[in-house]
């Protein structure tokens, strides 16, 4: 991939009198990895030499093979990606597919990073990945894109670790890799390397504005409850009662769900918890239950001592959030023309819409972006830090708009 010839990495923002920027997205639902990669890559190759390539690949495909095929064509530097729980492309929402999102042109500069972590070392892994900012030739607007392993520890630590390096000036966006709801193991891609428990990052700097939109539109169901005992991603008691039982009773869970952990995990997808923040409620995805200890398991921390809500949503609220997040991202461009969008969409929102209405989400996205390139994937957790120091979300759509 071409290296930007302008300025050195440590200099102040650089300007280009005639910047060229392009974004392109390709996708495929072909079952064969080779065929799918070739199909998804074709529009990228037609657009020019990309500086950054994001590969979002269903676990039905061989991510290593897809990465090798992409790297053979355009090189391995600037190539990151992850496994998914569904893919987003300009014209469809797919499962079992492959989407490639890319950008290029002299108006963008890019650097990529990797941090290999574990549940205990997730913050350090995110910091390691975020240090790619040190190598970035800065332009006027910068964002750090993070792809993490949502099945590895408290994902708040990913935001904290990245923020330690990025600081107040660089917003964070991203999502946690998926495995088609198997909840067993996800993959992260860095160059040709396929990893687990890792954080991969891409720092993007642009001459033109970048906008970030975040919305979930879930509403509390009833009064909040005190989180009386929790540790990290595990909630033991709500109001001093076993959290799993409180949750099952409050949502009036069917008998089968009360007995079968797998059924429970699937059922809980559309029934998140909300935690009280200063002026909003943050959503926490319930990824499972421990039927022996009666604990609830979540993707990110539910802090002890705080207030938790049982949350409810429907197709309408999901679609409303889609529109709001995309519109918010475009508004962040302050009138500059949109060139493309990158989306991190919680898999639980997809579950609410189900196959029958998923096309409506694409319609909502298209109503904002027109016919410009858009792509992304269905996640196990979303990252968007635009203010404050936090920014890990669940059941949320995070949209990055690029002018």
């Amino acid at each position: 991939m071409p290296v930007d010839p302008i300025a050195d990495p440590k200099s102040d923002h650089i300007t280009d009198p005639h910047p060229e920027r392009w974004i392109q997205v390709g996708s495929s639902i072909a079952p064969d990895t080779r065929e799918a990669t070739a199909e998804a890559l074709a529009p990228i190759l037609a657009a020019g030499e990309p500086k950054l390539v994001l590969v979002f690949c269903s676990p039905v495909h061989d991510l290593a093979q897809a990465a090798a095929l992409v790297a053979d064509q355009i090189g391995a530097s600037g190539l990151i990606g992850c496994s998914t729980a569904g893919e987003l492309a300009p014209d469809r929402s797919s499962g079992g597919g492959l989407t490639i999102w890319a950008l290029g042109g002299s108006g963008f500069t890019v650097a990529t990073g990797l941090g290999q972590g574990s549940a205990a070392g997730l913050r350090q892994a995110a910091s390691d990945a975020a240090h790619c900012l040190d190598d970035l030739r800065r332009r006027a607007h910068t964002v750090l894109v993070l792809l993490a392993d949502g099945l590895c520890g408290d994902q708040m630590e990913v935001v904290r670790g990245a923020y330690d390096v990025a600081g107040v000036d660089v917003p964070l966006v991203g999502g946690c890799a998926g495995d088609d709801m198997a909840m067993q193991s996800t993959q992260q891609l860095f160059g040709r390397q396929v990893l687990h428990n890792a954080v991969v990052a891409a720092a993007i700097s642009s001459d033109a504005p970048l906008g970030i939109g975040v919305s979930h539109c879930w509403e509390p169901l009833g009064e909040p409850m005190l989180v009386t005992s929790s540790s990290g991603n595990s909630v033991s008691t709500l109001e001093d009662q076993p959290a799993l039982d409180v949750y099952l009773d409050a949502f009036d869970a069917p008998e089968a769900v009360r007995r079968d952990p797998d059924l429970f995990a699937n059922w809980a997808t559309t029934r998140p918890l909300g935690i009280r923040r200063r002026d909003r409620i943050e959503i926490r995805y319930v990824s499972g239950g421990d039927f022996k200890t009666r604990r609830l398991l979540t993707i990110a921390e539910v802090p002890q001592g705080g207030l938790a809500f049982l949350m409810q949503g429907d197709s309408h609220s999901v679609l409303e959030a889609t529109h709001m997040a995309c519109q918010m991202a475009c508004d962040g461009l302050h009138g500059a023309p949109l060139r493309g969008m990158l989306l991190f969409d919680c898999v639980a929102r997809r579950s609410v819409l189900q196959d029958a209405r998923i096309h409506e989400e694409i319609q909502r996205i298209n109503s904002v972006r027109g016919d410009l390139p858009v792509g992304g994937f269905y996640t196990y957790g979303e990252i968007a830090r635009t203010k404050g120091a936090g920014g890990f979300h669940n059941q949320t759509l995070v949209a990055l708009a690029l002018a």
């Binding site: 904290r160 330690d164 600081g167 107040v168 200063r278 002890q304 705080g306 203010k387």
Partner: protein, 576 residues
Amino acid sequence: MNEVPWSLHLLSEVLAAFSVEDPNALRNVINRVAEAVDAEVVAILRQGTISLCIGLSAAEQPLLIAHAQDHPASIELGSGQLQTYWAPMGEGALLVVGRLSEAFNLEERSLLRAMGRSIQLSAQVLQALTAEREAKDAALRQATHDAMTGLPSRSLVLERLETMLTTSAAGDRLATVLFVDIDRFKQINDAHGHACGDQFLIAVASVLRSVVRSDDLVGRLSGDEFVVVTLTATRQDAESLASRIIERVSRPLLLAGKLVSHSPSIGVAIAMAGDSAETLIENADMAMYRAKDRGRGCYACYDRTMRLEAQHRAAVEADLRRGVRQGEILPYLQPIVTLPDGRLVGFEALARWQHPRRGLLTPREFIGVAEDTGLIVEIDTLILKEACAIVGRWRTHHPDHPLRLSVNVSGRTFVDPALPDYVARALQHSGLEPENLYIEITETMLVEDIESTTLVVDRLKQLGVRLAIDDFGTGYSSLLYLKRFPVGILKIDRSFIDGLGVDLEDEVIVKAVIGVARALDIDLVAEGVETKRQMEMLVDLGCDYVQGYLFGRPCEASEAEELVEKGQGSLTSSGQ
């Protein structure tokens, strides 16, 4: 949501985040403070320095320090105006919170003040608890780990091994103990000093840890005794591990600038039904003694006969200690004569144990135990002192018949820095001339740890005492040390003498050694001469001195004195 006091719950969250288990608790807490009020910057300032900070780069942090006294409501950052609040934490510390959007309202300021005080208090409690825990951990570690090497000590090894015996009882792999003892460690310690000895043990511990699997246990029982506790499926697996340890541990180590050669002996014991941890370690210990019997750098696997041997060895040790204490260890003297006339020129002093029940015992029956227990140094110095006294007395009675005396010392005694002092005292008390005393050692002892033996040899040289090299021809046979050290006598090993008249090769070797001795002006003594044929051949080959049954067995001082009284006469007629 307005009716819910959000700030109270966020304060609860912050306090709940303190954990004695988490070393980064304070860092996580300030993240929570930032997340609670959507702040981009949180820092703790103590005594004009920043002890923790998120959100600002190292280049930006001095901005906070610059305003630590005036506490402005906002600070200009590159990315915008940072609205700040400076919450006192107590004892001069400040919790500084900054937000790029709106200023902090009354409820937020109240929350941040409460957080500041609470964080300080919690941090102090955490510090106290951490200190208490560390002290407890240190005490526990001290009780269960060897302070020098950091390895688990005997009590922890026994505890872990007991657990392993229980959990592995039904499995395919059996608990196995490898008892590792460093050969000649006492000599290394004596020769190089205790500080180097400690360094040596630390290095051995490190090597042992590196050679075993991560789930194996390496412990130090005492001194130079280590154990490896592992699980093995077959005896071959255990033997393979023992070989690997011997190979790795035997690699020379650089200590205080000197390369030290060493080797381990390893006893292997694999758990049998009903074995306790103590029994298994005892079994491995017994096997280690068998390994030592096989020579240095060997291993042996435990079998049931070893327990009887160990009991016998323990009994001999106790008996020997008693014998040494009660003066039952005596010098026996074997004459050394000239060739061809058989004139008496001196004696070699040899230890004998006059046992009250078992009669006269030769060294073969007790030297092994003496060496293992360290009693050998006491025995060597005792023989040295007594033999010098005897020959010194004869010197007075027979002033016209000067006699030389050879005294054997073990390797352990020879590297003991105190040996020259023992020798000096023995000479002083006996009146024996230094030039007539020879300290008899093997050539292996001289060459093996040349750095440490050099110090001893140099001091012996200063005393005027020379060395007799025993068993010459069987070891290194390096001409270099013959020139470097004060060697006065070479003794040709009896195995070559046995071959005289039988094996032409032995004859050639004897001839060559005689040639070397002549060239270097060193006296040559042929040992183990038992027949006239051997004597005649040695005469023909030009050998100067001989000793052996042909000229007299080792005998008590009174009997030896009779030989002295015979004066210059030939002893060949008294031979067998």
